[in-house]
């Protein structure tokens, strides 16, 4: 547990909501609008944290525990992610399984909170969420195992540390496949187009947003912060592979990492501006293909 790791964790907490601002500004640019300020998500969080709360009469302590457990689990997962060349707060052989399962815990808490309201809309969102994440999980783990095979190591620090320009020259095909799989998982797990559309206004078509319809005040702030951190976390995995800057100077490394994440957010904005979301029935095909890409990546890595 080093100071550098904790500093990076702090940077993640501070900068994660900025990703939403970048996405919104990119989409505004494509739509020819000015768009909301870059810092809009911070203003939202500050406003929500100052408010009281309204709870449904149906709900129990499970609903109140949902956002708390979910955010704690995402924070735990974030503590396992090595950022910008520095080791993570916790690192050990097989740590990426715990990372994936902590995201599972966060999801379980959110889904149960949604079901606790007894709302058909929230039940629908919960049902879709568990379906898509069940299909995304094999893709995530297989992609990480492919990288582990490249590193011949089992901890995320060594796995991501072993990715370099050299690896890209040797194993471009395998790394491309793995990156593509991780990018699909990143979009699906963060409820972005083409899996989910966070800006839709119809409850029937939502996935993530509909699950938190009844959350308000500080609870909603925790949910929003958790979502931002999850985007930082999964985006961080993609960026660590695509932008393997290891200069040795922590400022340059961290700068490259954050710049990579902001570029990724811009890319999400481009994707959302240029394509429509898939029909819900087609989403499983996308997620299964991501799993197949990851498995192929693992097979190609095995040849090396």
């Amino acid at each position: 547990m080093t100071g550098a790791a904790l500093a990076r964790l702090g940077a993640a907490l501070l900068l994660a909501p900025l990703l939403y601002g970048v996405i919104a500004r990119t989409k505004a640019f494509f739509a020819g609008r000015t768009g909301a300020p870059l810092l809009q998500r911070y203003f939202d969080l500050a406003k929500l944290l100052r408010k009281g709360a309204v709870y449904s009469e149906t709900t129990t302590w499970v609903f109140r525990a949902g956002p708390v457990v979910s955010l704690a689990a995402v924070l735990g997962a974030l503590a396992l992610l090595p950022m910008a060349g520095a080791p993570a707060v916790f690192g050990f052989a097989g740590d990426f399984v715990l990372l994936a399962y902590l995201l599972g815990l966060a999801r379980f808490a959110t889904v149960l909170a949604a079901l606790d309201t007894g709302s058909a809309f929230e039940g629908m969102g919960a049902s879709r969420e568990v379906q898509f994440s069940a299909l995304a999980e094999p893709a995530l783990l297989l992609a990480l195992v492919a990288l582990a095979r490249n590193a011949h190591e089992l901890s995320l620090g060594s796995i991501l540390g072993a990715v370099s320009g050299e690896t890209w020259r040797h194993d471009a095909a395998a790394l491309t496949l793995v990156t593509a799989a991780l990018f699909v998982v990143f979009l699906a797990e963060n409820s972005r187009v083409p899996v989910d559309d966070p800006t839709t206004h119809l409850e029937l078509t939502m996935i993530h947003e509909v699950m938190v319809l009844d959350s308000s005040g500080p609870d909603l702030a925790l949910v929003e912060l958790g979502a931002a951190l999850k985007m930082w976390l999964l985006g961080g995995l993609v960026v660590s592979i695509v932008v393997p800057v290891r200069s040795g100077n922590p400022w340059i490394d961290l700068g490259a990492f954050v710049a990579g994440l902001l570029a990724l957010a811009a890319l999400v904005g481009v994707v959302e501006s240029t394509m429509a979301r898939l029909r819900l029935l087609r989403v499983p095909a996308l997620l299964v293909s991501a799993g197949v890409l990851a498995a192929l990546g693992l097979a190609l890595m095995a040849e090396w």
């Binding site: 944290l49 408010k51 009281g52 709360a53 309204v54 709870y55 449904s56 009469e57 149906t58 709900t59 499970v62 457990v69 955010l71 704690a72 689990a73 735990g76 916790f90 690192g91 050990f92 052989a93 097989g94 740590d95 399984v97 715990l98 399962y101 902590l102 599972g104 815990l105 999801r107 379980f108 889904v111 149960l112 079901l115 606790d116 309201t117 007894g118 709302s119 058909a120 809309f121 039940g123 049902s127 879709r128 568990v130 379906q131 994440s133 069940a134 299909l135 999980e137 094999p138 297989l142 582990a148 095979r149 011949h152 319809l213 009844d214 005040g217 500080p218 925790l222 097979a299 095995a302």
Partner: protein, 663 residues
Amino acid sequence: MGLLLLGIACVAAGGIAALAASRSPARASRLAAAGVVTGAVLGLVAAGRVLLTARTEELVRAWDVPYGAIVLRLDPLAAIFLVPLFVLSALAAVYGTRYLADEAAHHSLGAHWFHLCTLLAAMAVVLLARNAVLFLVAWEVMSLAAYFLVTFSHEREEAREAGWTYLVATHLGTAFLLAMFVLLGRAAGSLDFDRMRQAGLAGSPLATAVFLLAVVGFGTKAGFFGLHVWLPEAHPAAPSHVSALMSGVMIKMGIFGLILVLSLLGPPRLWWGGALVGIGAASGVLGVLFALAQHDLKRLLAYHSVENIGIITLGLGLGVTGAAAGLPVVSFAGFAGALFHVLNHALFKGLLFLGAGAVAQATGSRNLDRQGGLLRRMPWTGGTFLVGAAAISGLPPLNGFVSEFLVYFGAFSAAVAPRGAVVVALVVIAALALIGGLAVACFAKAFGVVVLGEPRSTRARDAHEVGRAMRGPMALLALACVAVALAAPLALRLVAPAVAQVATALGVPAAEAPLVGATAAVTAVVWVFLAVIAGVALLALARRLLLRGRAVTRAGTWDCGYAAPTPRMQYTASSFAQPLVDLFSPLLRTERHETVPEGPFPAPGSFASHTADLAARAVYLPLFAGAAKALGSLRWLQHGRVQLYVLYIALTLLVLLVWKVAS
């Protein structure tokens, strides 16, 4: 050894005392529970001592039965299976005293307790027996006792059918075991397991035959997918504390038997590991898929037993692969994951079955779509069920995650090793990840529909919390799920001697070293668990401070402005699972029966769906129907005339005599 035998005797004595006290059901229950609890405490002390010291205790006596001998051995492998047996049996017995109290008017509780105690004692003897005759006798007593327990509510057709299915399945399985032991016995010249081990069968075709017979015979008991058809029938039909014991402990006897036979055969072939991994992946994925499609809470849990047996078998398959491929780290992690999961599954599945029994007793139904809103009415049952649901889904920070992590760890080690078994590792990882995601879906459904939301029936609305004797065991099991997770490195150290015993028997170089990496990883996992728990506490505190003094109001759930929402408009179990069920419809083939309201004056509509078992529908029903038809042509042999039956017997004897004299 003496202590353990005394414990088993206590359990048996409890059963006999209960039978003798049949006239007073309450006293019979108390006597049996007292016997089981005393026996369990003694047994746990004996098993714990063996696990701590890694020492083996033995008892050998002569026995008049041909080829039989009383060879009982308490080694670490037996001890690691005895621990869940005793823990769960004590808690289930206490739970049963209250659960059955209302049944006393219709059924003989004395007989029930006698069968229960017989089952427990027989399972303990199965784990200790090291002679094939003794093993098979105990195995058969165990199977028969379980039959009587399943048919407890024999006035219901469903229970009789389930008992019959179970009886046929278990005996078909035993037939394979009989053939297997005959093969082994002929090769070794003795039915003592030690002699079989010394026969040096490794690598011979006979070993392969024995392995296949063991997979089918023990797989029937364990519930490998395809051989599992009795499981989703018998578990729901039995009283809930019996379901807990059958699912938590009895099906593990199949796993124990398989490990035992593997260790008799010595160094395995590589493809055995692959075969076990394939069986495990199929059981795991199909088990959880069929669970998703169920509407009956206990049937759903029964399919999850198939799933968890799949996870255990994935671990065993990795262990065998590692042994055959010369990868000790893989082998040790695989076996450790499998054996640890045996313990963990007993804890959380026992808890879930006890919870399901409490729900069924409080609301009078096991149908998921007749429940809802139970957390307010039954806070203990609801809260402990949540712990069980999270644990079985493999979520941190609970025990299910730790054992699945060990299996993952083995698979990763196989994937990155220089001469690694990449394909096996890939199958294990993909299967475990898919199982994990689907299990979360299934238990979000089960817990969400049963315990959360608004009650969907009047019985659920009027439900009350169950009595203290039922709450206590559930609370203890939930506590154990948390405690085992937080003390995982310690628990792993207790599992280690059993792992070493199995690995050594399979020809893996004997050393404690291969588990060092896994232990270090598990220790780090526990630190993260603690960090997450601390995070939850801090965030909860922050939330409370933020809301202090602010307006916190209550209102209706957001319903898009609809004026008259009713609890019937909530998402149901079927609707929650529908996307996944549709996605896997080629495997599940759910039948739907629906009448859609039509026209200006619509008649009431209806919807029902039913998912029949794949193996039962595709294999067993046609098979048994065909067998019945083919054998029907022999019916003229059977006409009820006793004289002719005597003639058959005489003729048979004559033929045998001629054959004997001629040869």
